[in-house]
Amino acid sequence: MSSFLSLRDVWVEYGDKIVLERVNLEIDEGAFVSIIGPSGAGKSSLLRVVLGQDAPSRGRIELDGMPLEPQCDSNRGVVFQRYSVFPHMTVLENTLFGLECAQAPFTARLFGAARRAAVAEAKDMLHAVGLGDNGSLYPAQMSGGMQQRLALAQALVKRPRILLLDEPFGALDPGIRSDMHRLITDLWNAYSLTVIMVTHDIGEAFSLGNRVLTLDKLRHDPHAPNRYGASVVYDLPLTRKDPPRGAAELPAARSTRKGKNNSITIDKIDNT
């Protein structure tokens, strides 16, 4: 079976600054890939390219064997590093929006029973991210962490096939953070999600992911810092006794997957 998402010799350049060079990557359906690397390495840039927001300056990206158009759709959900919630919608409206788009192609608004059902679904998700009480606030009235959680709820309520997360939990306190870890793991198990997550927390990278990628520069010229871009320097598949996947086993999954990172195999790879 050809892999789900594949990047072939992908480069990302801004003007004459080379950010990513020669990235080759095959990601299987259902993988949970954590990406770590120094600040400024190009992690967010990589996510943008996979999302289809930016086109790579060279190379090819294929999804399910088809070349990826540089555009976004509801197959790929995203939580950006910077706040990407809609400032003119309340928390509840922000969360409802995805549901409304799917069900009301023309008005993008729901009424009556359909709305009540969507509101219930959105509220469940808001409770899950700890914003249950804040449905009527506008983003400007919320703290940084709350906005980030809203962005997450917004993406999750659409149950995308691929979920791209850019430091989603950076601004959260440890309590809510482990709740969110549980939530994302459950969803991953329940919906055969493919997750690509950028994080600065190595513990998080290893405990959540089943594959950890490290982005960094392979070469560095101190006199021309922009000459060389980063690439994948470590690609660590984590082999664990995974429980069988499926929505039915959700409660079981919750306890089995939590906080395990035993039996890891590490291979140093050369990406060139």
Binding site: L51, D73, F86, H88, F97, A108, K158
Partner: protein, 279 residues
């Protein structure tokens, strides 16, 4: 180094309350009125029949007939009939301009191919002074109400369209992408993400366009009309009746300022999210 002991709050940091703000705002206007009275009195000392800077008494006399008495010919209270006619034209012109600014502006701002095709045209129309093309406008729209409304629309709509388009094009790309990942079609994106966020800007654009709109209204009424505030002003200009012109201009300023305040207030009411949170 800064002296920490001073208790004077910097001007940047001062917050002005509502009542204080009104009072402070009234001061320079009052000063201007006083200045006018001074100059008017001075001119009248030299020539008691001076018409250029009439004294308040003369203005009251001149206006009384227009405001309180029926015009024997038409049976109308001229001042109020003028006001009504002008406001109707202005309202219609503003409404059409606003609607087209929204429609065209959003599409231009959001869809690069459309912007490439029509952006230059809109710029071109925006910079052509419509009063230079009056003869062609007469052919296209005749000389009636349509022509007056059309002059307002041609005068302000391109400017508003460009403003809304520029603002729309500045929306963070992240928001567009986010909406697309939530399954929004271009239409839904327009309707739920771009349009609502353009609304406060639209209100701002209407406020900025109010001045030019009045200019074009008055120009239109100066060209061909038999009623309206601009008509009256240009008619009585024939005999330098500043005692009518000045109250009329003041009245226009009051109407325009009220519209402005109303728009600012509605924008704050309707789009609270877009204005500084009330701390």
């Amino acid at each position: 180094m800064q002296d920490r002991g001073r208790s004077v709050v910097r001007w940047v940091d001062r917050r002005i309350g509502r009542t204080n703000g009104l009072l402070m705002g009234a001061v320079p206007i009052l000063l201007l009125v006083l200045l006018y009275l001074f100059f008017a009195a001075e001119r009248h000392a030299i020539n008691p029949a001076d018409k250029i800077l009439p004294l308040p008494g003369a203005m009251v006399d001149a206006m009384r007939a227009l405001v309180l008495e029926r015009d024997p010919l038409s049976g109308r209270y001229l001042f109020w009939a003028d006001t009504l006619a002008s406001l109707q034209r202005l309202g219609l012109g503003l409404a059409i301009s606003t609607a087209s600014a929204l429609l065209v502006g959003l599409v231009l701002g959001l869809l690069p191919p459309v912007r490439a095709t029509f952006g230059m045209l809109v710029t071109g129309i925006a910079v052509i002074p419509p009063i230079a093309l009056l003869p062609i406008l007469f052919i296209a729209f005749g000389l009636g109400e349509t022509a007056k409304v059309a002059l307002i629309v041609i005068g302000i709509a391109p400017f508003m369209i460009r403003d809304i388009a520029a603002h729309t094009a500045e929306l963070p790309r992240e928001q567009i992408v986010k909406a697309q990942t939530l399954g929004a079609s271009t239409w839904q994106l327009m309707l739920r993400v771009v349009l609502p966020q353009a609304m406060p800007r639209l209100f701002q654009a209407v406020r900025l366009a109010l001045g030019p709109a009045w200019v074009f209204l008055i120009s239109a009424e100066a060209i061909a009309a038999d009623i309206g505030l601009g008509y009256r002003i240009f008619l009585v200009r024939r005999y330098l009746a500043m005692d009518v012109i000045l109250p009329y201009v003041a009245w226009i300023a009051i109407l325009a300022a009220l519209t402005d305040i109303l728009l600012a207030w509605s924008s704050r009411r309707l789009f609270g999210w877009a204005h500084r949170s009330a701390a």
